[in-house]
């Protein structure tokens, strides 16, 4: 094989592994300093098969992928369970990488540290190009499917991801599985390219290189790490004439990349998208420059119409949709929620008010299982939610927004709404990776549904804009849209009017009432803005120091002596917060 072609081959082999790490670290946001171990497992598995058993090349590569994936499960299952702590995995994989090396050095079949010489050089450039093309295609399909958007959601915000119906554990495990399989494939190709493998080729140094490549290439990009991988392989070769200064020059280039592109070569974008932008500059202007005011104006206009519809207040006969019974939650010595019992009737807009630190948000976090209650029961449609995982609760029909907005910031508005929609997409992992026609159909339907939702929320103009670039008020709206995408029957709104002026607040009240009507929802809302609460709620609970102070219709609350004394202050009835 020609020298240049051989360098290209090597770069492509490396790219397959980099692609794997990009899925795991770049797109799922989990760090690993042990992925070279999966490369090693793939290399040894496939090499042993062709070397000792004369197995054909392609099946041995597949075997390498499968073994690497299975081993990744063994490490992933116990360590990725920890909900919001991905460091357990990082430590476990670090140890595993070292352990694997010791194992390879001591096994008879791997020939120990002496290595396996004389592996058949099956790996040809066309074979590598085919493998790389298939890998890129598969990864792209994976990332644009429901699992890919679940991975990205986890990277952006694991808590919000759960509330969008993403199962953290399963998604992370799947991401690990895919990345390990790709690394295994890369290993098999490497073994049959070099025709000699040694345990020392698959150590921390190589894992670090893989991670560095992904970081230098860009964390949310496929093309970036591939580009970086090519540079990392080709540059030292190009600098070979520089003799011992080669590594110094190489280091300088890397430092330059890090200094001038701290987000990596491609950041969170893809090469084709950037090229399109460069070659069609007229079309790429930001959407807000022209339209930011119009949707808001429209929503203000909508106020009087919807405000006229009175809140229904005759749900008394139906069984309550949500019932909290004797709920208690302690944080150390502080009793955040104290023996709280509430019933939220179906179809109501139910308000929870109380001073700062009264435990309102904790109640939401208990309902959505961010926290586990110390005592008490939460019943939804008369079924206990206590045994369910957060994403399962979401699938039961409870969606929420957050006090401090938690969007998938780097994702477009459309993606933000699509992510929860996709969690019910009717296709499997395999068909997603192979991008079967059913997937395309399902995706088209979901996208149409997402656009519909955005249109209803008057966000259609921002569909392609990253969520973080939206103005504050629109981010709130987008968060509500994302919650609605779950198709909930109960919507929890945590201080939706926080940071809004009276005018914006009035518009929001109208909007909430509109949503309430149009989606036939039950809404549970925490607010400080009394006017909003009084305007939209059919029932109100007042909480102080985690305990229920009063409960009733707005009129009853307005007149309640205890509330007036303890919370609103004597003589005042409005604008308490």
């Amino acid at each position: 094989m020609n020298y240049i072609l051989s360098i290209v081959t090597l770069a492509c082999i490396n790219m397959v592994a980099v692609l794997g790490v990009a899925v795991f670290t770049g797109f799922t946001g989990l760090f690993s300093l042990g992925h070279a171990a999966f490369v090693g497992i793939g290399a040894y598995t496939s090499a042993i098969l062709t070397y000792y058993y004369d197995a054909p090349f392609a099946p041995s590569l597949v075997a390498g992928m499968i073994v690497a994936a299975c081993v990744s499960l063994i490490i992933g299952i116990p360590t990725l369970k920890a909900k919001l702590r991905s460091d357990y995995f990082a430590i476990a994989i670090l140890g595993f990488g070292e352990g694997l090396r010791v194992l390879l050095e001591n096994l008879e079949i791997t020939n120990g540290a002496r290595g396996l010489p004389g592996i058949e050089p099956h790996t040809t450039l066309p074979a590598v190009l085919l493998a790389l093309a298939l890998s890129i295609w598969g990864v792209r399909n994976f990332l644009t499917s429901r699992w890919g958007s679940a991975c990205i959601a986890i990277r952006e915000d694991p808590v919000a991801a759960e509330m969008a119906g993403v199962n953290l554990f399963r998604t992370r495990l799947l991401s690990l599985l895919v990345s390990a399989a790709l690394c295994g494939l890369s290993g098999g190709l490497l073994a049959h390219y070099l025709s000699f493998i040694q345990p020392v080729m698959f150590t921390l140094v190589q894992s670090t290189m893989l991670l560095a490549t992904v970081i230098a290439g860009g964390m949310g990009s496929i093309s970036g790490p591939l580009l970086a991988s090519f540079i990392f392989i080709a540059l030292p070769e190009a600098l070979r004439v520089a003799q011992i200064w080669r590594l110094v020059a190489y280091g300088l280039v890397l430092v330059t990349i890090v200094v001038y592109r701290p987000q990596g070569l491609m950041g969170y974008t893809e090469l084709p998208a950037v090229l399109r932008k460069v070659f069609a500059p007229g079309k790429s202007s930001a959407p807000f420059s022209t339209t930011p005011s119009s949707p808001r104006e429209r929503s203000t206009e909508a106020v009087p119409k919807t405000a006229a519809t009175p809140s229904p207040s005759c749900e008394g006969e139906k069984p309550p949709l949500l019932r909290l019974e004797h709920l208690t939650k302690n944080f150390g010595g502080i009793r955040a929620v104290d023996d709280l019992s509430l019933s939220v009737p179906e179809g109501a807009v139910y308000g929870i008010i109380g001073p700062n630190g009264a435990g309102k948000t904790t109640v939401f976090n208990l309902i959505t299982r961010v926290y586990r209650p110390d005592e008490g029961v939460i019943l939804f449609r008369e079924r206990s939610l206590l045994g369910l995982a957060p994403d399962a609760i979401v699938h039961e029909g409870i969606a929420r927004t957050f006090q401090n907005i938690r969007l998938f910031n780097r994702q477009s508005c459309l993606e933000n709404v699509l992510t929860p929609l996709r969690q019910r997409a009717p296709y499997g992992v395999a068909s997603a990776i192979l991008h079967l026609p059913s997937v395309g159909r399902a995706e088209r339907e979901l996208k149409a549904r997402a656009m519909e939702l955005l249109t209803e929320m008057e966000l259609a103009a921002y569909a392609d804009a990253p969520a973080a670039t939206l103005p504050y008020g629109l981010q709130r709206k987008l968060e509500i849209a994302r919650a609605l995408a779950m198709g909930p029957s109960l919507l929890l709104l945590d201080e939706p009017a926080a940071g809004m002026n009276p005018e914006e607040t009035r518009a929001l009240s109208a909007h909430i009432q509109e949503i309430h009507r149009r989606f036939s929802l039950t809404i549970l809302v925490i607010e400080h803005h009394m006017d909003l609460i009084m305007r939209i709620c059919s029932r109100i609970a007042v909480i102080n120091f985690g305990a229920l102070l009063a409960e009733g219709t707005p009129e009853e609350i307005r007149k309640d002596e205890r509330v007036l004394e303890a919370y609103l202050g004597k003589g005042k009835s409005d604008h308490a917060a």
Binding site: L10, P121, I244
Partner: protein
């Protein structure tokens, strides 16, 4: 600053143009560790080759062409070594010197073989450098001027059994080093064949520097010698810890020990140890070379690589002359039939059935801490241990 850049650019340009214009040259490749843990030997190897090429070119080069050395750093890494081998083939070298390490050599061999470029490794002592492990056939384009590990292991075992009168031995080796694993195996086989007993074979992990657990076990068994086929650093640490534990056994090492670090790090603990080497500074055959090297670079060569590299170069040049051709297959054929060639380390005869030297001796050196030297102790020829 700008002026400097222009001058630099011109210099680089001249370099390229210079090599491009010089049609009447023959390129000889050199794959070597110029960076990393083995760079000490690699740098010295390169200097020795440049020194010899200067001399050869003054005498008219080979077949009327001047010799140009194309050296690339392989970082003592198998993947890099493969890239270097391919690059050298691309550069059109007629033969390749190196790599010095067996793993890198084994990885490079198939590429050079396919390109029909003869490869003469310097100190890669593993049998499978010149032998295809799978087919057990000789690699037609791989040669070496150095002895092989089974011989080194045998020499160490025979020296321990017959000269040190050791009846029991233990082995401490790096499980992560192919070199260590092979030598441990060969020593054990040879020592048992001699009639001795290997009472303990203890491994440690690469980069581990605390061997007290392994040595503690050995202390109970009280072996006569401890064979430590590692680099100088590990050997020195092991020696210190062994003496601290009160182990009296003679320490025996291999050709990786021969570095001044051994005494610096080991101190009195390593005193009185022995090791097998390819050649040593006191070897009467290489005195001319050592003197020339000292004069030119103001320091001692880091043995044995520079000597072996010169041997490799002389073997290549001689084979080209005898083949009267630069074509790989012809040169390789001539190489396989080398008999009694005068080289830096003495004479070189290649065994056509193994491509290993027939007459390359191994020297035993003693560690003399008081004089900070490795005096020559004795010499073994292949026929001695047959």
């Amino acid at each position: 600053m700008r002026k400097f850049a222009v001058i630099l650019a011109c210099a680089v340009l001249c370099l390229f143009v210079g090599t491009a214009l010089a049609e009447e040259v023959v390129k000889i490749g050199h794959t070597v560790s110029l960076t990393g843990g083995a760079s000490m030997w690699g740098q010295s190897e390169k200097r020795a080759l440049e020194m010899l090429i200067e001399k050869l070119n003054a005498e008219g080069g080979v077949l009327g062409k001047k010799i140009v050395l194309v050296s690339y750093d392989n970082r003592n890494d198998a993947v890099e070594a493969v890239n270097v081998a391919r690059r050298l083939v691309e550069d059109g070298v007629v033969a390749v010197i190196g790599p010095a390490q067996s793993g890198n050599a084994i990885a490079s061999a198939p590429i050079l073989e396919k390109a029909q470029v003869p490869m003469v490794v310097t100190t890669a002592t593993n049998p499978y450098v010149t032998l295809d492990k799978k087919t057990e056939k000789i690699r037609p384009f791989a040669f070496r001027p150095c002895f092989i590990d089974p011989f080194q292991g045998t020499v160490a075992a025979r020296f321990a059994f017959r000269d040190l009168k050791a009846k029991t031995a233990s082995i401490l080796y790096d499980v992560g080093s192919d070199y260590g694993q092979w030598l441990a195996k060969y020593f054990e086989e040879a020592f048992v064949k001699e009639g001795g007993q290997v009472v303990a074979k203890e491994a440690f992990r690469t980069d581990e520097l605390d061997y007290r657990a392994q040595l503690g076990k050995m202390k109970e068994l009280n072996p006569d010698v401890i064979f430590i086929p590692t680099s100088q650093k590990e050997a020195a640490m092991a020696a210190k810890q062994a003496r601290d534990l009160g182990i009296k056994a003679v320490l025996l090492g291999t050709d990786n020990w021969g570095s001044p670090d051994l005494i610096e790090l080991g101190g009195s603990a390593i005193d009185g140890g022995f090791f097998v080497n390819l050649t040593d500074l006191a070897d009467p055959d290489i005195q001319d070379f050592v003197a020339e090297y000292r004069q030119k670079f103001g320091e001692d060569p880091v043995l044995p690589n520079p000597v072996m590299a010169q041997d490799a170069l002389l073997l290549i040049v001689d084979s080209i002359k005898r083949a009267n051709s630069f074509e790989g297959p012809k040169v390789a054929e001539a190489m396989a039939n080398t008999v009694g060639l005068k080289v830096t380390s003495g004479t070189l005869t290649i065994d056509p059935t193994t491509h290993d030297p027939l007459d390359k001796p191994a020297v035993i050196q003693k560690v003399d801490v008081t004089n900070n030297a490795f005096p020559f102790h004795m010499k073994f020829y292949p026929q001695d241990v047959k």
